[in-house]
């Protein structure tokens, strides 16, 4: 079937098979390989992307159901500069090692920055609880988010 949607601000029209999930659609049909497919059954969070402004599991969304939707991936988020400071903090804290979880982690962390400016460590951990990282032990990631939140609060003072 044919779908037309907006991906990172660009309109795309494509033929998709119903069995295609959003991550395969992004990676295989559009060549956007920043979103990762890990477990493909909703557990790991590596596939986290935005649909209509809210984070979702890309592996648990049918591409066919997204006619008219607006999708933002890590590529679009990066290009917009929305989380440039968070990405710098990830590098500074060594919050990415192998990098497999990182795009999903940044998408989930961006949701905290956008909607929960007052989140403390416990709230950050809770919000990221659906994103697995097998390398960092999470401390560096939580710290990167925490320092970014603190710096943004400082900046608006």
């Amino acid at each position: 079937m044919m779908i037309t949607l907006t991906v990172n601000g660009e309109r795309v029209t494509r033929h998709v098979e119903p069995r295609r999930h959003l991550i395969d659609f992004l990676r295989l049909d559009l060549g956007l390989t920043g979103s990762h497919a890990g477990c493909e059954h909703g557990v790991c969070g590596a596939c986290t992307v935005r649909v209509d402004g809210e984070i979702v599991r890309g592996c648990l969304v049918l591409a066919a159901s997204l006619d008219g939707a607006e999708v933002t991936t890590i590529e679009g988020l990066t290009d917009s500069g929305e989380v440039a400071d968070l990405q710098e903090a990830f590098v500074a804290r060594n919050a990415a090692q192998c990098g497999f979880c990182t795009p999903g982690m940044v998408m989930a962390a961006a949701d905290i920055l956008a909607h929960h400016a007052d989140a403390d460590r416990a709230a950050i951990r809770e919000h990221l609880s659906g994103n697995y990282c097998r390398c960092t032990g999470y401390q560096a990631i939580v710290e990167a988010v925490e320092t970014t939140l603190a710096a943004r609060r400082e900046a608006v003072r």
């Binding site: 079937m1 098979e17 119903p18 069995r19 999930h21 493909e40 059954h41 909703g42 969070g45 986290t48 809210e54 984070i55 979702v56 599991r57 592996c59 648990l60 969304v61 049918l62 066919a64 159901s65 989930a108 949701d111 951990r125 809770e126 919000h127 609880s129 659906g130 994103n131």
Partner: protein, 288 residues
Amino acid sequence: MKWPALGYLRASSLDELWRALGEGAQILAGGQTLLATLAFRLSEPGTLVDITRIPELRGISVAGGVLRVGALTRHAELGRDALVARHAPLLTQAVPHIAHPAIRNRGTIGGSLAYADPAAELPACAVALDATLVLARAGGERRVKATEFFTGLLTTALEPGEIIAAVEFPLAGPSQRTVILEVARRSGDYAMTGLAAVLDLGADGRIASPRLTFFGVGEGPVLAARANAALEGRALDATAIAAAQAALDADLDPPADLHGPPAMKRHLCRVLLGRALQSFTPATEQAA
């Protein structure tokens, strides 16, 4: 594993849905359970019929003395809705326990109740709050009490061709006390054991209509009849809590599962019961 070949169509009204629901068709709501199980090839539906754009299944309202929650209400919407917080605060308390933010943005109350996972929060809340499910089919509607809706492991009173249209919750009165507690390995995982507790606490400190409902310990939500009877009409104090804990054992018949043996689950239930009731006692007595 990749999903099996399947068909997809979207119904934009109930009439369209009734025409689409035939042999091999399966309803797709948030997809947060159904699509996950497709990857395991646990289910191989012929056609997925997407119901998420059917307006009749949306919305949260208060009318006729009940809070009506449309089947398509997503967990995230349920968690931030002001009418829900006011009239069925147990549901607001339950949402943070359900999976993770990205899953809560898609999963629906209708899907959760229809799937009837024994460790899920919303089926237990529906039983604890004595909710009524509105079931719709081509040419009609019927109402089924939550206590009768869950009939066994992952099975419900839904007939073929029937869907959950909405859930109706009685409005919480001023003396209602609610809490949901659970033990899970990772925040957001399905509970090893959980308790949705609802009761009325009168000005005289006496308990009325307790509905302690456990999850993750049976084939569906378990309304603890004996523990509830042990609490009815009593003052909420340490003796009452001990009596309910003693009675609770006969209410439970937990299966051994990946998490541990029945004895562990019984123990966790007693602990959760104690904590839940303790949370309803005035702060001064808690300190004592």
